[in-house]
Symmetry: C2
Subunit: 201 residues, 2 copies
């Protein structure tokens, strides 16, 4: 009876707080960066895609030669990048279903230090476009995620540190730069949330 | 030995997390609203000041007749308001001294729902102007302050509610609309922080 089993598992979620990162967890940050960086440098987008999608390091600029890093950071801070991000497959449906299950869903995101203010503005606009105005209330913008209370945090960042011991359990959203992390519950696609998330508690 | 006593009290602060609201706690939101609302309506600023500075209700629009509320909210959302706010006396010195004492100071602020995105942008610009770029890392933007971990929250709002039980102790920053609140440690001026804050723990 897989339907019944699934319903029982989802009961575990009701009343919980699920924090969710945005860039490369909910929205495809890489896709927009690849498009913009290739255009800015006059390079083949497929060549840039190969570097970005297979990168070993979380911080984007660390995957490029020293001479290119200023241009990389300039692209990160280019107006409209954070407003143009498209959702990853299944992400919107998953978060809406979680809300319908009685879950306190919050989007917890750190603004990039090169453009903190405009990044914050664009994140509000992006949430409005993707989820509707009411969802803006669920947005928490902070550089330190360890200060935000919750049961789990779904995030692609390999290691999340800050001022406090982590109050939540880190569910790792799979990306190339976190493949070697062991011992964490891993969400490889939003379509798998019903199976993966109840196991995280 | 008042100097020694004061030093001993301040020891209590080291390593603590002090969350601080912005509008009407760190910056004089009322002053800029009064200026803009009087200009928008062609009214005497002193007349508007009397209403605003003596108001009984926290939400600004609730202190004006029904017919004026749309204009009030339009003023709240007017571009540049949150970027123009000036610090309250002693606020900057107090927060810098707290940081020097080894306190984890975070600014925790809710964007106004009429202008959430631009409000967030302007709050980053405002923090940069008032405290310098490095302080932007201390900004946490959230509608729900009960999800932010800390030892105390200094805030002018009479009652702070959200999804969680409050994890911090609420120190009330005095304003006209919170005069009747009993049973909370009260900070009436930033110049008094050395005496008041150690008593809050």
């Amino acid at each position: 009876m897989p339907a019944l089993k699934s319903a029982q598992s989802l009961d575990k979620l009701n009343g919980r707080t699920v924090l969710v990162d945005m860039d490369n967890t909910i929205v495809d940050w890489d896709a927009e960066f690849i498009r913009r960086y290739a255009a800015a440098c006059g390079r083949d987008p497929q060549e840039v895609e190969k570097i970005v999608r297979n990168r070993a390091k979380f911080e984007i600029e660390e995957n490029f030669p020293e001479a290119e890093r200023a241009k990389v950071l300039e692209t990160v801070a280019s107006p409209g990048l954070y407003e143009s991000l498209k959702p990853l497959p299944g992400a919107v449906e998953a978060l809406q279903a979680l809300v319908a299950e009685g879950v306190d869903v919050k989007l917890v995101t750190a603004p990039h230090p090169t453009c903190a203010g405009t990044c914050a503005l664009e994140k509000y606009l992006s949430v409005e476009q993707i989820f509707g105005t009411a969802f803006q209330e669920r947005l928490i913008i902070t550089r330190d995620k360890t200060q935000v209370q919750g049961d789990i945090l779904i995030d692609d960042k390999p290691k999340i540190s800050g001022c406090k011991p982590c109050p939540w359990k880190h569910v790792l959203f799979s990306q190339s730069y976190n493949q070697d992390v062991q011992g964490k519950v891993r969400l490889s696609s939003w379509t798998a949330w019903r199976d993966v998330l109840p196991r995280a508690f």
